[in-house]
Amino acid sequence: MAEKVLMKGNEAVAEAAIRAGCRLYFAYPITPQSELIEYMSKMMPKVDGVFVQAESEIAAINMVYGASGCGRRAMTSSSSPGISLKMEGISYLAGANLPAVIVNVQRGGPGLGDIQPAQGDYFQATKGGGHGDYRLIVLAPSTVQEFADMADLAFDLGDKYRNPVMILSDGLLGQMMEPVEFKPYKTEEELKQLDEQHFDWCMHSNEDEPNHHHHEINSLEIDPLVLEQHVIKLGKKYDLIEKNEIKFEEYNISDENDVIVVAFGTAARIAKSAIDELQEVGKSVGMIRPITVWPYPYEAISNVLHYKVKKVVVCELNLGQMVEDVRLAVNGKIPVEFLGKVGGILFTPDEIKAKILDK
């Protein structure tokens, strides 16, 4: 493998996106995400890519729509308030069956909130945010390495399903540095193949075809009967994604567990510290860490609730959002407790331990 480099999450995901074949990037700066756009501004010209600092977040997501409609790997990124502005565009991308990668480096909200790490955009990312019947594939990294690896995964999933994909990160993962290893750059031949896989539907120049506009990129369908079929088809696609693409990590799961923690992203990292410390004193706690938060690993959670498990503890950096999905998974079998921190404040391993031990 390649040599490890010490890098911020924001920079690592940008580098990984370029290596994955992203040659069009549009965004507007916002803390704690700005190193990402800065990195892209520096690197895109070196790979003959396109970097545009758009006049707004809304413009940026619509530029992604255009680039993606031409079959190219395109990406935008922002932090929570900026992601809210992109929601209309995300719904349009989903409606038009377009792949795209959107990175959200979450900060405290609502409104302008603050610039510290938070997970308050879970509902927005996984349950809608934009209007209409659509689903966004949402990936939640918990290390800088995973953040970088997800750029590649997000583009692949986007292309596979022609669906927008969000990487739901946060200020901690964006700002912190960890060693990271990158995959090699895609070759010219691979990049060409990436483009060509979309030629049966995207806008592209075609000399054999006198009417160059025979492919239509559109999310408007005024005839209800036609729209009905379109949305039913989208639904079938979402069913397929739920069947095939669920990803999660099991941590310290064993027959000895009497408490199960469920946490994602940064919260899961802190929970791991608490679980390790409890294991040292003989208390066995397991954790399910959803890696895709949509599609959600409901079964992974219900599968580990054997007779010894007394309760489930959900830790999130919000007022309680993913806990609703955990309750669906547990389905009333045992108590589901919640530990949250808001305002951009992180919990400490001690606070998680106290919650697990009912102290």
Partner: protein, 179 residues
């Protein structure tokens, strides 16, 4: 073995860079490392600080609440993080900027006039390297050679004089740390 470090000082003193070089050296020696800065608007006269973790096992939480080592380049850093240093932990501080020091008997304290040492070497820019040297001299969590290799990598051509000053500062720090 896991070592949790907080490095803290006024903006511009190089506190964040201390964490970065230690983490980079740890990575160079095959260890797991993380570097988590405080970011955002820090009050003037306050503390720019970083949590750095160096460990032979994967690092779970990168946020350091109770450091094994606190490197304090100014008094507000001691006031803020000093009480949280683990029992039998290590405090390294800059006497030139920390007039009050700390009142704790259950930790090891190494103090040095880092401003003065840096000035004698020739540039205030190497103040933080004195602190890194003390960490290495006292704990050996990373090797001097790893740092020298890393620094040489990007300074040798660009600014050989600054490289010399940096290495001198680290060596001086190591002497102090070993005493």
């Amino acid at each position: 073995m896991k070592t949790e470090i907080i490095s803290s000082g006024f903006g511009g003193q190089g506190a964040l860079t201390i964490g970065k070089f230690l983490a980079k050296a740890g990575m160079g020696e095959g260890l797991n490392v993380s570097w988590l800065p405080s970011y955002g608007p820090e009050m003037r006269g306050g503390t720019a600080n970083v949590s750095a973790v160096i460990s032979d096992k994967p690092i779970a939480s990168p946020l350091v609440t109770y450091p094994d080592i606190l490197i304090a380049l100014n008094q507000p850093s001691i006031d803020k993080f000093g009480p949280d240093i683990k029992k039998n932990g290590l405090l390294i501080y800059n006497t030139d900027m920390c007039p009050h020091g700390i009142k704790r008997e259950d930790i090891t304290v190494i103090k040095a006039p880092m401003n003065q040492i840096a000035k004698e070497i020739g540039t205030m820019m190497v103040l933080n390297m004195v602190a890194i040297g003390i960490v290495i001299g006292k704990t050996g969590i990373v090797k001097y050679e790893t740092l020298e290799k890393d620094l040489s990598g990007f300074l040798k051509k660009k600014n050989p004089e600054l490289l010399e000053a940096n290495l001198k500062a680290i060596k001086k720090g190591i002497e102090i740390g070993k005493e």
